[in-house]
Symmetry: C2
Subunit: 499 residues, 2 copies
């Protein structure tokens, strides 16, 4: 395996003269909006992971593909790195700017180009908001399935870059399962079409490769998404448990009973209390855990499934089961879950949102592990899960004004992710690796695998100028992190609790 791409970290990036680069780009890209004064750059210093902040050298806000092409070609020629940003709602620092780089903001590409109800597709520009696609499709009884919590704000281009999921991805899949074709541009300004309107495309599946590649391979310039018919009905059950591990086991048992819920979410006591305080969702605040199970489809089918799920929950030891009586109550149940993050934010000056995925059967064990880690670090952890697909979002509560607590929270977060890897899971479910989890990649992958990532990166971007320092660690970084070659149950961390 040959290493062609030397993933640069900030410290190794070339030092570019800002005034020169600005003058060059102004000359080379007519009409391009370029921000360069500190006060103009400030709003772009972070994405949704605001613990990491870097002021970019320049911010570019192109309005046409010709401008994007000219900008990329010029940056390539000058050796200036480029970080692409959608709506900036990402939670792993994937759009964190570089001090020596251009931040390419795609927000002005915000047009829905086509909704074709017969083919059930929409063709959109990358800056279109996720929810705007469903709004445009609604008159035809259709919608776009992936629904990240940020769907009011996040852009579809960012969704492609991060392979975004959401509450319904257990049943309806991630972004990669709902995108048919993307138009992309490489750092060399070359335009490529990946995928097709057909189920499959000949040659390598570059569409899937590109989806979730976090801006490392190219810039998304147009997306064709699948639209689905709106389910006839949706019903939601809420089950309470007096034990969080019992709730974890119930999740696996629902799936094992042959049900694929539209959404299957879990919250633990701290998350329940925070949400209830905030939105009065009607949650049982004395419960150790609740499950929210939404079933959607045709009426008769949904009713059958509700009965089955109810039986499974009872057998699993649920202390109470409530079915939302109407749409208003259903919305209330979901409001608690959807506002869990800001709700937890009200309980603590700061919180750190993790994102790991584990095999469903390991839920009880990992919950126990997180509780032990929480106690060992003396930091509270609220757990909010897309439980059905094993995607966990532990929220670590801390106070950044207390000396060292941020570091402690980060370390605890890292340990939780390593625990995910140890049980056969992964260090990200839907938020991506970005800058945040670059070290944990060393725990997830072997050196050969990381080398292959770099080789694939080089196939698209031999100059290594697109979003350097994100997503894939250098082998040197992994050696420093000291956790190479980790697989199930073999994590060589002496300080990690054993389970």
């Amino acid at each position: 395996m040959n290493i062609l791409y030397d993933a640069r970290l900030d410290g190794e990036l070339p030092v570019n003269d800002k005034a020169n680069v600005l003058a060059d780009l102004e000359g080379a890209v007519p009409g391009l909006t370029l921000l360069h004064r500190e006060e103009d750059l400030r709003p772009f210093e972070c994405d949704g992971l605001s613990a990491y902040r870097v002021l970019p050298m320049l911010v570019a806000l192109p309005e046409s593909l010709d401008q994007v092409e000219a900008l990329l070609k010029r940056c390539r020629a000058l050796g200036v790195p480029v970080v692409t940003r959608g709506a900036g709602t990402g939670l792993s620092g994937g759009a964190l700017p570089l001090e020596q780089g251009v931040l390419l903001v795609m927000s002005r590409f915000n047009r829905i180009l086509e909704v074709d109800p017969d083919a059930r597709i929409a063709r959109v520009q990358p800056g279109v908001r996720n929810l705007a696609i469903s709004e445009a499709a609604a008159p035809h009884g259709l919608y776009y399935a992936p629904d990240p919590s940020s769907q009011i704000a996040c852009s579809i281009g960012g969704n492609v870059a991060e392979n975004a999921g959401g509450v319904h991805c257990l049943k309806y899949g991630l972004t990669v399962h709902n995108v048919m074709r993307v138009e992309v541009m490489t750092i060399e300004g070359e335009r490529m079409t990946l995928g097709s309107e057909a189920l499959d495309a000949p040659g390598f599946d570059l569409l899937a490769l590109f989806t979730g590649s976090e801006g490392m391979l190219g810039v998304v310039t147009e997306i064709t998404v699948k639209l689905l018919p709106k389910p006839e009905t949706a019903k939601v059950l809420m089950a309470s448990f007096d034990d969080v591990e019992k709730a974890g086991r119930a999740v696996g048992e629902i799936i094992a009973a042959g049900i694929i819920p539209g959404g299957l979410e879990m919250m633990d006591k701290l998350a329940i209390q925070a949400a209830e305080d905030f939105v009065k969702a009607g949650y049982p605040v004395e419960a150790e855990a609740i499950l929210l199970c939404e079933l959607d489809g045709v009426e008769a089918d949904v009713d059958d499934d509700c009965d089955t799920v109810r039986r499974v929950l009872e057998a699993a030891g649920a202390t109470g089961i409530q079915q939302a009586r109407d749409e208003a109550e259903r919305a209330k149940f979901w409001a608690g879950r959807k506002n869990a993050f800001p709700a937890v934010g009200r309980m603590s000056p700061d919180y750190y949102c993790m994102d790991g995925t584990i095999p469903r059967r390991e839920l009880p064990r990992v919950l126990k592990g997180i509780a032990d880690l929480s106690e060992a670090y003396g930091l509270r952890v609220a757990n909010v899960f897309h439980a059905g697909d094993g995607n966990m979002h532990p929220l670590i509560l801390f106070d950044a004004n207390h000396e060292g607590e941020l570091d402690q929270a980060e370390e605890l977060g890292g340990k939780i992710l390593e625990l995910c890897v140890e049980v056969g899971g992964t260090i990200t479910g839907e938020h991506g690796v970005g800058r945040e989890k670059i070290n944990q990649m060393c725990a997830q992958f072997r050196p050969d695998e990381i080398t292959t990532f770099h080789a694939v990166k080089a196939a698209f971007d031999p100059s290594g100028l697109l979003n350097p320092g994100k997503n894939i660690p250098t082998l040197a970084r992994c050696a420093e992190f000291g956790a190479m070659h980790v697989h199930k149950g073999q994590l060589p961390h002496p300080d990690l609790p054993r389970f």
Copy 2:
């Protein structure tokens, strides 16, 4: 974009001394079964595309991963190309041997390692037959969804290599949608794990990249597949039409009505007659086209959908609609479709099976185009489609004993595929590119895109020794083919009928 990999065509491959290579491999890989005599090699000279035949230099039948690793490392050192073969049922010549190469046959890796009904997964070796997975899962009420027509014989490793589909892929997806993790080995003998048991994995999506890569990137050594619960019931409707284009329009209208059938198949008059002669399926031989629409799920839901589909078919001008009364009749309806290929084989000394995909809305136009091409070439074409996902299998009837007819059939087939590209479709739906469609890749992709494929190939296999000459054409080949840079409606072929 840098070209790193020089895709070799047969003529450009190194000349290896067979006796030397044999002696070397026998010494280097203890216990490896190596076939070298012409009579032993003969059964391996082609895969399911028997029009192409090449006798391999050697055939290797390893029994352990250590043998595979040692073999690959040795071939890499000697510069001997390697073609991997599963069950040899592929229809595009992807496993066509090389005169100067080793054919690596994975058929002895035929063990089902694990069926986990709670996690709904099975872990299997690559030589396991597709249907054997469903058989092993059946006691748990589960099955493996992708069902290529060859599922009795084809191997799951080959399914991954070709991203195989089947009658049910409209609803249940292709292989890539049903595989969670693969273990692979590179030409350098490095072992990698791609994917995970979770919905998503961090880093680039190498699992999806690898699926359908036709043995160009590495050798699949283990596969973890998803299992689905068997649908409670399945019902099938057969509709007759007096006009093939009407039937084509009905397909789009069924989907537009919000139904996703388990299977939605179409056959034209020639295919109907062939099938009826062969298996007495009860098909209306006077019809110009029939649609078979299978609906599966829970009883009440299926009944509702049957009513909806019936209304749509009536409105679309169906001249007759029959619902299979029982399982026996349902099996009979499907037997006709599943035996359509051998049935057509009885009508003509030879036939050539094409595989293209088009947007559903273009079905009527493409059917007209195929009819025109058929007339222009004086060769009969029977049409059998996975209509729901726009995947067509035109069968071109010819007699290889008639001077020039094979060439004519191949040329006609190429024209049909170019027509697919012209209307926004692709040159393969589920059979892959292999050796067969290497020229049509030039019609499908621009030079930049093909260069990217080569760069990705080089990221995994810089030596270019894995299955050279398949799947991705050289740019030189495309220049010769003379059809670069083709996109919707811009095909520069003066001799292609215009529509």
